[in-house]
Amino acid sequence: MDFSVQDIVDFAPDLFKGAVVTVEITLISMIFALIIGLAVACIRTSTLTVLKPPAILFVDVLRGTPLILQIFYIYYVLPLAGFALDAFTAGVIALSLNYGAYLSEVFRSGIEGVAAGQREAAWSLGLPQRQIMSLIILPQAIRAVIPAAANYFIALFKDSALVSVIAITELLRAGQLLAASTYKVFEIYTLVALIYLGISYPASWFTAWLESYFRIGKPPKARKPKRAAKASGPVMEARP
């Protein structure tokens, strides 16, 4: 139970490879989850009555079953129906669908949280429905849900360890394999934990920055110097 520099040097290459896979799975799954979540939220807040029941069913099924079961299902059961997937793809699909379902609820709350007056003002200007959504509602809704979505992003990063059950050698499984051959469980799992922490902790700084960057109505100067310079013509003068 004593760390030696040699251990770190020995384990680093495998753990590094595993960490790269973990980050890849997280980023790819997050992108798809955001797309799925946004699409489902738009359907659920729209007037597309035909698409609403399937969207609700999707969210209920994915929130109501364990993620690890969904991973098994996509990897082991779908091939029986002719959809054979490699482990990486299956893992990404499972994580994307699961987090897409959760994120759709986050986006939905954001969309429904935009003041009714915003829609009314946009209607009164004659803006078409699609542009009201893309130019007025979503920019405000997305800003409002950045903290919640960032939470899910970090949760997804940690849940990506679950795909180790279908033999994807991401960070956790890379550690498991090393532990199985060297029995240095303390050193290895401590290193694995430190790597997870080393990635997720700066990620939370990033989300804090993201949140402040997109804060609505912040003085443009503090937000985006270039744009403030463009917006303030010669007629601009500071309000006392």
Partner: protein, 263 residues
């Protein structure tokens, strides 16, 4: 040259006699569930007219003007805006909304867009103007409501009075034929009411057709061609300001006026 001036003289003479109807409301009824909000309302507004609608809260004034650009549906009767029936036809609704501007009690500016972007958005997206043209026009309207020096700011950085003037400019940028004002000064601090009313008076002087729901009786006296008094979903009074303030016909109107004017 001569002929055309005669023509235009004849035209103005004709329109002075009978300007065209811009809003025709007939027998309009609206229910919220079982609550009867508007009861067989009739109202006609002609081009260039300034109408002030007043009445106690819950009398249906806001609901009525929100029906004009279909922010509210109604169940019975008919409503025609500049020849276009406001019905379930989405194209008609779009047409009417493009031609009718609205100013809200809570301003409803888009908080994620600058003042200039707020104003230029609809002309670009709905009228199809280029960004430069739309922004130049937005700037000219912002100048008219005297907030052009705030063009690069976000709505939250402005005072209430400034925000409401921006909202007026935003509506004007669509070059509407009719402006609806839904209690535009009710959410303002007292000292900001004046700057907004001044802009509205300017607009009225320039001949804009407007329907204003407001409790500003001084404004009504000064600019209204007709004052409409509503109570419990009905129009009780529809008269010129002098008649309305000096000799209202209904007891309810007298009671309302004594409440509003006594302070």
């Amino acid at each position: 040259m001569n002929a055309s001036s005669v023509d235009s003289a004849a035209l103005t003479a004709a329109t002075e006699v009978e300007p065209r109807k811009i809003v025709e409301i007939q027998n309009l009824s609206k229910w919220y569930g079982s609550y009867h909000a508007l009861k067989a309302v009739d109202l006609t507004v002609r081009l260039g007219e300034r109408i002030v609608i007043c009445g106690p809260s819950g009398s249906g004034k806001s609901t009525l003007i929100r029906c004009i650009n279909r922010l509210e549906r109604f169940q019975e009767g008919s409503l025609i805006v500049d020849g276009v029936p406001v019905d379930d036809n989405a194209r008609n609704i779009d047409t009417v909304r493009r031609e009718v501007g609205m100013v809200f009690q809570a301003f409803n500016l888009f908080p994620h867009l600058t003042v200039l972007e707020n104003c230029a958005l609809a002309p670009r997206r709905v009228r199809g103007l280029s960004q430069a043209t739309a922004e130049a026009m937005a700037m000219s309207f912002l100048e008219r409501v005297r907030v052009h020096d705030q063009a690069g700011k976000y709505p939250m950085q402005l005072s209430g009075g400034q925000q409401q003037r921006v909202a007026i400019a935003r509506a004007l940028c669509m070059k509407p034929r009719l402006m609806l004002f839904d209690e535009p000064t009710s959410a303002l601090d007292p000292e900001m009411v004046r700057e907004v009313l001044d802009v509205m008076v300017d607009l009225a002087t320039e001949g804009m057709t407007m329907i204003c729901v407001t409790h500003e009786m001084g404004f009504a006296r000064r600019v209204a061609d007709r004052v409409v008094f509503m109570n419990e979903g009905r129009i009780l009074e529809d008269a010129d300001p002098t008649a309305f303030f000096e000799s209202p016909t209904h007891e309810r109107t007298k009671a309302f006026l004594s409440q509003v004017l006594s302070y």
